[in-house]
Subunit: 185 residues, 2 copies
């Protein structure tokens, strides 16, 4: 979102490179405040219960009606693990324990950094929420690959099932160049 007005005094800003900087920033014409805009972290989990994976069907745009893993913006005042647990609870009503960090994704064209954790469901309690019209456990053979909402989620799931064959998971960082699911894959 553009910073057209100063958050400190409400005066208009101008786009300029500050003296000691090399990036264009929104600078207040009146009070001189420099406003920074930085990438946001999205944290989420791959909840597993007795070998099945919990997915949620989106009740909100974009990609309403398609399936995804629970994930959302990291909030101030929480760790990345706490954020992933909270988002999972909010979107699926499932309580998870973090197992380990699994995948990070640079999604540069929307200024987002995803961090997805392997997670363990303590019980099989879960259910629909404001954000998820349907929540259910999927066996690997049941994953609705042609109805996954986002490329970053499909890639996470693909890597996960590939690594699970050998029960050998290791953290890695990848780039995503398009966010929305494309019909051609």
């Amino acid at each position: 979102m553009d910073i057209k007005f100063c958050t400190d005094c409400g005066s208009p800003t101008q786009l300029k490179i500050p003296a000691d900087d090399d990036h264009v920033r929104a600078i207040c014409e009146k009070c001189g405040q420099v406003h920074y805009s930085n990438p946001k972290m999205v944290v989420g989990s791959i909840p597993e219960y007795e070998g099945k994976i919990l997915l949620c069907r989106r009740n909100i745009e974009p990609q309403k009606g398609l399936w995804t893993l629970p994930a959302g913006y990291l909030e101030n005042g929480e760790s990345v693990q706490q954020g992933a647990v909270r988002e999972t609870l909010e979107e699926t009503r499932a309580v998870v324990e973090i197992v380990e960090p699994y995948r990070m994704f640079n999604i540069v064209f929307v200024d987002q950094i995803y961090l997805m954790f392997r997670a363990r469901m303590k019980t099989d309690r879960f259910g629909p929420t404001k954000e998820s019209i349907e929540v259910r456990l999927f066996d690997e053979t049941e994953i609705p690959w042609d109805r996954i909402a986002f490329k970053v989620i499909r890639q996470t799931l693909e890597h996960y099932f590939e690594d699970r064959k050998n029960n050998l998971f290791s953290f890695g960082i990848f780039d995503i160049h398009s966010k929305l699911r494309k019909p051609d894959g």
Copy 2:
């Protein structure tokens, strides 16, 4: 930083919980725009050259005059790896290749997430910059432990040298509960 005025129209904001939300946000009284504030990522590297580690002595507050690893805020439009390489170049003039992600730190009380990479210097070219009054390579035995600027950097270095004994590095996430170096450690 508090969002006292709307970035979209310059009108005053009020702190409220939006209808579909559970966090307090700054909401514009006039246009209704909701303003989010989220943690920022700090990316940096542990530059290694022939077994030595490159540190820089801060030319800016806080902790001016103390030693640190090159690191800074991730910018829009770059990947975490690109950000770490850029910060290293800006603060030390060294060109590095990323080896692998090494440590992430939750620094919840300042809403920062650090991500530090192992990195390889291609040459031994480096030098002082606007942000670093002095830059030099340190052998493990020479690290100025009592003059490291931040706890997050000291912990990164401690973990690094510990892991290097066995040449066995693995990614991990840790919490930092105080930012500034304390005299008592």
